[in-house]
Amino acid sequence: MPVVLVTDVLVWLLVAAAAGYAIYCRRHAHLAGPWGRVFRSPAAMASLVVLGAYVALGLLDSLHFRPALAQKADAPSAYASEVLSVLDLGLAQLRGRGEKTYSAPLATRSYAKELIEQPDGRQLRDFPRLRFGGAQLHDEADWAADVAQRALGGLAVSVLLSFVVLLGTKILKKKRPDIPWQAAGISLGALLLLAGPAVALSSVYHVLGTDKVGQDVFYLALKSVRTSLVIGTVTTLVLLPVGIALGTMAGYFKGWIDDVIQYIYTTLNSIPGVLLIAAAVLMMQVYIDLHPETFPTAVQRADLRLLFLCVILGLTSWTGLARLLRGETLKLSQLEYIQAAHAFGVRDTRILARHILPNVSHIVIIAMVMDFSGLVLAEAVLSYVGVGVDPSTNSFGTMINAARLEMSREPVVWWALATAFTFMFALVLAANLFADAVRDGFDPRVRM
């Protein structure tokens, strides 16, 4: 039975909007040109591949359902209370193989000693074998060989696929020689080379270890991707209409409208961001806690909290965009083609829609891509502060938060942090590089 979460709807709406925008861009030279410049940048193409991989994960994780329970043929179908996503299906192996507690990457034994009952009845305090990690090994001495064999097997598949990719870039290069396909190919190849062994190993090992309650860290990281993407994109969806409307109106109408809008954003701006978000999230938490009846399932509650977080982030961060748009609109409204429109008696609303909006759209695009990485980073900090996503939601913030306390253990439990770091770094770096290319492509002079 499909389950439709609010953020799912928004995510797929965004996908539809992006597709619509892409079609629109192809038809309009003034938009196709800048995007063409973006795609001609090797850094943009390479980071686009990485972003694409993340987005694919996020989209697979945005199709939710409740699995049917095994039933007799004639009985009415019943569904589990657990809400899963398509991604969970693909990762069923990872998800199902929980250990008791921490284990290091690729380990066969747990991180913590336990009392183990020996076959001869004696009790021994030792690191117990994991239930799943390396369970297929009869003799742990074979571990190294087994790992190497599986890794090489995975690598072989990746190398094969990489060759296909290489071939593909060669063909594409012939069709569109101006686009740096090699850069995209190299970054896709690198992803494949990492993914191949990881997939091969993950069938019998915990490639990146397990966390405190024994969940596979690799699985957690993959599940966290969606949260980051939702925060990074849905927030802008909230922020854009407010920022665009108020910014252009302030710049175009000037006078008292400008005064009022400027007052609103100076006031909002003057409350330090984290505090305003914290205050709003606290209040939201109180509301959620006291109205449990509104949220039928825990997943829906967590989802709504995620949505609220996006809304709050959006409502507190539109001021920057509005300020930029106000300035640009002030400049534009002095331009001669706007005056020409006035000379034709064109109505203000029409001037705003037909002249101002298209001519500030590059700023909106740039702001959107530039905000993305900041929002992904902000999620981690907010979750740490305790005003981020619901603790039950998988996110890099909750991962870091859970893992950081273990840095003081001896030996250090480093893998969860390292995983969160790597996944976040790759995402944010790709987003930053792509944003740079977009800014250069659209307008190198816009300062942000």
Partner: protein
């Protein structure tokens, strides 16, 4: 000039009132004091008496904005709005959940905050400007290219990792400094060294790249070509002509945060156990201590507005075009 400053200060008043109204709405209208009480006392199974007692102890047992039962001016003053929001204007913050005077707490905690934030600010500014100048001087060379790459990479790392990583390396691996804690006086140095270093490093990426853009933008201007046409060396052009112009947006841009230095840093303080306002805020958020959060919101806004006024003043000081007009 004087009239200008006065006007800016007067302009701040409606903004502060706006901030006050927003916080009032957030803390008392979205959720009533009753909700807060139930939340604090453990959600569902709370007796109405306990709620009333909780409210009375904190002075939340008043009507929100209008007290019809009170006498004379009491109708307006014997309300939550007046007692809890309007009184913020005279820095009367009330008491925290653990019954301490918030104002006194803030006074005591802002110095450790400043001791951490000020060095981060000053050293960070110097480091970032120098790095940006270096990149601008060697623009379009490999040094510049890799400098920018480094900046983008550094700004892609969450502050949390800088702190956790720095703590791990400096305190656990090298045993250079204590992992956390604080002491007054000169002893503070050994506790502050690491957080300051981390604060500076975590800011390098974004700031240096931004300043580099400003420098390059200035270097494309006509007066730079004029300066070169005079036969001046590239370093003279950079230091005498470009730096002076680019510093105007840089300095006036950072002035706004100077008052906010008192607020300290949320993350560093909490990780390093520095008893400043940042860790105070985080503790309050985690303990859901609404009175403290409300006070910090207000203080933060006051400081930000002070920063705005300082920005305007600093413009008039550094930019002759504004100073002399």
């Amino acid at each position: 000039m004087f009239a200008y400053v006065v006007r800016r200060v007067l302009y701040a008043v409606p903004i502060l009132i706006g901030v006050n109204l927003i916080t009032f709405a957030l803390f008392f209208v979205v959720n009533t004091p009753d909700d807060m009480a139930r939340m604090q006392l453990g959600a569902r199974r709370v007796t109405p008496e306990a709620v009333e007692k909780w409210k009375a102890e904190r002075g939340y047992d008043l009507p929100l904005v209008w007290n019809a039962a009170a006498q004379g001016t009491g109708k307006a003053t014997r309300t939550i709005f007046f007692q809890k929001s309007v009184r913020l204007f005279v820095f009367d913050f009330g008491y925290s959940e653990d019954k301490r005077d918030i104002a006194a707490e803030i006074k005591a905690r802002m110095w450790p905050s400043l001791a951490l934030a000020l060095p981060v600010f000053l050293v960070g500014l110097a480091v970032c400007i120098s790095f940006a100048l270096l990149m601008a001087f060697f623009r379009a060379t490999y040094l510049d290219f890799w400098g920018v790459v480094l900046c983008v990479a550094m700004m892609s790392i969450s502050t949390l990792f800088y702190i956790i990583g720095g703590q791990y390396v400096a305190s656990k691996v090298w045993h250079l400094v204590p992992i956390s804690g604080y002491a007054g006086g000169l002893d503070a140095a050994k506790f502050l060294a690491l957080p300051v270093l981390i604060g500076v490093i975590s800011g390098i990426g974004a700031s240096s790249r931004w300043y580099r853009t400003l420098f390059l933008e200035e270097m494309g201007k006509d007066y730079v070509r004029t300066a070169r046409a005079k036969g001046l060396a590239e370093s003279v052009v950079l230091f005498r002509h470009v730096l002076k112009n680019a510093l105007i947006p840089i300095l006036t841009g950072v002035v706004v945060v100077i008052p906010l230095l008192f607020l300290g840093s949320l993350l560093s303080e909490s990780f390093f156990g520095i008893p400043g306002l940042g860790s105070y805020t985080i503790d309050a958020i985690q303990a859901q201590d609404f009175a403290v959060v409300r006070s910090m919101v207000f203080i933060g806004s006051v400081l930000y507005i002070a920063g705005l006024i300082l920005t305007d003043i600093s413009y008039t000081l550094v930019d002759p075009r504004i100073r002399l007009e």
